[in-house]
Symmetry: C2
Subunit: 558 residues, 2 copies
Amino acid sequence: MTETPHPLYAKHADTLAKALTAITERGYWSAYPESPSPRVYGETAAAEGEAAFRSYLDADFPLDQPGTRDRVATEASPFGLPLGVRYPHADPDELMAAATAALPAWRDAGPQTRLGVCLEILARLHANVFELANAVHATSGQAFVMAFQAGGAHALDRALEALAYAYAEMTRHPGTAEWEKPAGKGDPLRMTKTFHVVPRGVALVVGCNTFPTWNSYPGLFASLATGNPVVVKPHPRAVLPLAITVRYAREVLAEAGFDPNLVLLAAEAPDEGLASTLALRSEVRIVDFTGSTEYGDWLEANARQAVVYTEKAGVNAIVVDSTDDFAGMCRNIGFSLTLYSGQMCTTPQNILVPADGISTDQGHKSFDEVAAGIAGSVAKLTGDPARAVEFTGAIVNEGVLARLDEVAGLGEVVLASRAIEHPTYEQAVVRTPTIVKLGADAAQTYGREWFGPISFVIATDSTDHSLRIFRDTVGERGALTAAVYAADEKVLDAAEAAAVDAGVHLSCNLTGGVFVNQSAAFSDFHASGANPAANAALTDGAYVASRFRIVQSRRHTA
Amino acid sequence: MTETPHPLYAKHADTLAKALTAITERGYWSAYPESPSPRVYGETAAAEGEAAFRSYLDADFPLDQPGTRDRVATEASPFGLPLGVRYPHADPDELMAAATAALPAWRDAGPQTRLGVCLEILARLHANVFELANAVHATSGQAFVMAFQAGGAHALDRALEALAYAYAEMTRHPGTAEWEKPAGKGDPLRMTKTFHVVPRGVALVVGCNTFPTWNSYPGLFASLATGNPVVVKPHPRAVLPLAITVRYAREVLAEAGFDPNLVLLAAEAPDEGLASTLALRSEVRIVDFTGSTEYGDWLEANARQAVVYTEKAGVNAIVVDSTDDFAGMCRNIGFSLTLYSGQMCTTPQNILVPADGISTDQGHKSFDEVAAGIAGSVAKLTGDPARAVEFTGAIVNEGVLARLDEVAGLGEVVLASRAIEHPTYEQAVVRTPTIVKLGADAAQTYGREWFGPISFVIATDSTDHSLRIFRDTVGERGALTAAVYAADEKVLDAAEAAAVDAGVHLSCNLTGGVFVNQSAAFSDFHASGANPAANAALTDGAYVASRFRIVQSRRHTA
């Protein structure tokens, strides 16, 4: 059980040190450049990545893992891209047996070696980030640049952030300590103590369709770094990004002399319900999930042998009280609604505006003028189809389309959703955002999540009333994000107090290049764990601390 | 929400700094002297503390808290001491309302102020440690010196340890951070971020009869320091130590300008089941419990709105392979079995010895000779009643007596339990330990906990066999402690590997003044959370990290 760190630890020690500093300071830092520009990544990277992506299509995915019964191909690209990738379909018993067998050597390798290997996996994924971005783009419906950023660079940053927390937590105590207790006139009592980091068991990561990498990487790498083998169960419509991830992880593990079965893919057949099967296995001691409230709640209630981290649905809100930059406010909100057609768990849904309007740098604006200002911003961003799709991407599933149909009849439509033809992908399903006016009494509508490009501008009696609705809806249904626009410090403070009470992160007066639906790794926390939308934050101490235990031994000092 | 630390923070900053260093190094450190000697505490402290204790007897306990319906007196001292203390019996609705109302100001006071106040509470308790020790002694049945140490000084050390972890966790990020992201040729994006520590809600502490303070303090202070109001539900037979704790906590809180309802006593009437009533309240978001496996499992399964920390029962084991200090081994094990008549959650129960004996510094010792050696050590410690009771204390409840009766018929009795007359307390119920020989096939007996002065010496085929039984029983039923005696490093390593697999802390070759059933605050972890005996350790990062959340706000930098 002696830990001689693997050379990969030294190779990546500088990156780790910087990440450890970043999580302590929580200012700006990033390890993986977010620009896909050839000036950053080289002239050939984009083409090579795309070619690597294409090589997977209509073929058996190259993954040599145990227990493969047959192959499954379940993906359907929102862009209509033909995929046809056939993944190994594994026997759960064999997956569990393989993961369990891989644990002891990985546990005994110690924190430094595990970090070295995990950081090498991130380096390998980064070296293939265009391949990964193409896979995220094709399966999630994100526009390419967003897929590169959110699904590539930012996902790697979040993974690194989780690794830094995991390392800090595992090493906050020394591996051994000398204990010397005075004993009156006699010799002191002397004991040598050894503290072992012991993983919980097998970790299960259940991926989602919209952010297959960004939402999965923190849990995956936090569990792996703390010694737990990880079984990755991707969403059936977004398998490729995680299959690529598992492939490179296994490659690095094997090269470093470890059992590649420390990371396994659990692709499923349609309607197989594999996540539930795996989540209830006694070997599974950690579950990370992103997706619906219904299923997240089910996991929390039923996977009782495991510690379960969930990110679920919520009703994100913006409280509009006043602004000294009306144009900037409308632009900023409009962009947030348009990005990825509102299919982010962080997209604002409920925009709470006093019915008698607000004061702005352009004078008083009526409720309708505020609604029109935001709608105009969205309309402008989506006016030109070729430009629009670079923001909106494509619609991820039929449910979104059904909600778009349904919502049109529930209030006065300020901005109608439009179908857009994608200039490149003929089969792509693209929809622009809709904005619907509601009264404050329509809580049965705005009080639940309408996932997709659907937002409500809600007429309230006053900003106080808006804050009450904000507290109530977030308290009941949760939220991942909140924003406030107010020119008055007192209103900002009241909004901040409401956000603290409701347990949701708040963005104030965003009018420039920072958007409420975007969080920056190493600085912004994503989700809080303090409201029903999630039971944990990405990424903090609580997110990693329970993924392992300390088991100590003590002996008289020789 | 600005945090100007209360002056109490500066007053105790040095103690906090030392505790923070101690939890990082995990060597020897203690803040509260464990010797009740007048040379340490002054000539009058003992008498004053006893007088203070006596002033509570046959009287209404002085606690001015809301919702008192009537009074309850439920204690019965194992020493037969008449107590008759009448505690306020509160309405749960009013307790919850009072605790909830106290939360916001305490939350907004910030980590430093909360730590200052919590450390002042510890100082106040320490100033009254003899009073506390008398209360622990009278209600738990611990001998006085043990009550002073485990129930006073060591409990305060564990509380301070929990406070240090809580503070470290709350302050691992700054309260505010500046974020400046380069934006090509334009001005960088600049945001100022504020990170609020937000408590989960009301915390419930459910105390036990045997260690009313030691087992309750870590959860109580970890929750309070992280901003949660705490409702303390003592065991009906050990109310006084926690009533005194609540009294001084409320006194300090009020003096510091906070709502004393941040700490409330929830004494219960017989058979009221108040813990269950409180644990299921929606306001309760944290539960700390020490006690039976059955009830701990119930809490984990049912108090789903809360994060639940449990310490339950286990089957602690000693693997005896060989020793180069046979006399020291027998003395050390014998003392562990005798202390507090085996009524510690850490007392060894199963002593696994090869049937064909062991090699020692005194030559080969047969299985019977090993059993006789340990029995002889216990017999020597308990031979003189006046001396014996200073180790054994008294028997905490009828269940222990019933088990003593039952076990005598289950195997060959190596050492019979004896009733002893207490030289001071005529009514005291005192029993010396029994040791019973069992075969390895008697797992239906030794495979479950026999709480009390009951241990088994179990004949195994070999040390390998002993280690298999050790893994199986600890894996199935859990354990809080384990020990091994072996002269061979390879056997020690094998035992350490088994302990890591089973997730239990291991003591090796204890022959001197350190005992397997004692753990030192700031150095030894108590429980691991890695086996069924407990779902958390006292005290580590995981124990505090989920007691609060971070809620952030961000604004463009002015």
